[in-house]
């Protein structure tokens, strides 16, 4: 498999959001309920929840689950 320019760009984008310490998927899930409520209510995200943002930028599975949860709760809130 050749590393195409698209692959390289994707990897470099990942480097840009790679941190020395990151949450794993379970640690992210533990904080997601609090994060999603703040996000929906457009409250400023508490600094202790920043790592959730970093994880969601990198982990497509957690991102997908988060987007689905957010959409569901937004719909529910709007009736």
């Amino acid at each position: 498999m050749k590393l195409t320019n698209e692959h390289i760009k994707g990897l470099v984008e990942c480097m840009g959001v790679t941190h020395e310490q990151e949450l794993n998927c379970n640690e992210c899930l533990d904080l997601v309920p609090e994060y999603v409520e703040q996000d929906i209510q457009k409250q400023p995200i508490r600094s202790t929840l920043k790592p959730v943002e970093y994880h969601l930028a990198l982990c497509k599975e957690c991102r997908d689950e988060y987007d689905t949860l957010r959409e569901l709760l937004t719909d529910t809130e709007n009736g």
């Binding site: 590393l3 470099v12 480097m15 840009g16 309920p33 982990c59 599975e61």
Partner: protein, 209 residues
């Protein structure tokens, strides 16, 4: 009883009638939520939702003591149910693709054969490709390489985890360690991610993918 559960504290009540009532209310909430969120997706039917709700209830009851009241209880419970159901859906979709096959047909080719830059390719991109390939082959272990390869092929971590018989957390850690190694080597060469991404802008070079 966990007082943080508020109205849901009957889930941990010693009174079995009260507990069963709370449990059936939670079950209904999860069925409605999963149906609304995932009902239109391929492979989702009533039986699938039932199975996922059952698994979710067990997980939720098992974790009840860890609920800290930092969100509504239902938000916490639905997040857990979505994790379980969506992981299963991804696995259903991918379980005919084996990691071994992926590895055999897609081994990242060695650096010397991979570098075929177009004449007008930005020098940063050419060098980045060389650094990445060199690091992938010399510094990553087999499992880290495998996760990176699976990531490049968009294979979900749930499926990698199942095939390697490790947890999704462990897969994430393999990927994280791989990314850190790649980032470290690029930084050693004096490159930052933002500088390299600028080199990918359309005006900076002509793509030859």
């Amino acid at each position: 009883m966990n007082q943080l559960l508020g109205d849901w504290n009957k889930l941990s009540s010693p009174d079995s009638t009260a507990r069963d009532l709370a449990l059936s209310e939670l079950r209904l909430t999860l069925v409605r939520s999963l149906t609304k969120a995932l009902g239109q997706r391929a492979g989702v039917n009533e039986a699938f939702i039932e199975d996922m709700v059952q698994l979710s209830l067990l997980r939720i009851l098992d974790k009840l003591d860890t609920f800290q009241g930092r969100s509504a209880f239902t938000t916490w419970a639905i997040a857990i149910a979505l994790r379980i159901a969506m992981s299963e859906l991804r696995r259903k979709h991918w379980n005919n693709v084996s990691l071994d096959e992926l590895q055999q047909t897609n081994e990242l080719i060695p650096q010397d054969k991979a570098s075929q830059p177009s004449p007008d390719e930005a020098s940063e991109i050419k060098e980045t490709r060389e650094i990445l390939l060199e690091t992938i082959h010399s510094q990553l272990n087999e499992r880290q390489r495998l996760v990176l390869l699976a990531d490049l092929n968009a294979m979900p971590h749930d499926e990698i985890a199942a095939q390697l018989q490790i947890s999704r957390n462990a897969v994430y850690k393999l990927g994280h360690d791989a990314r850190k190694a790649l980032k470290r080597e690029l930084e050693k060469a004096g490159y930052s991610a933002s500088q390299l991404l600028a080199a990918f802008q359309p005006n900076s070079f002509t793509a030859s993918v």
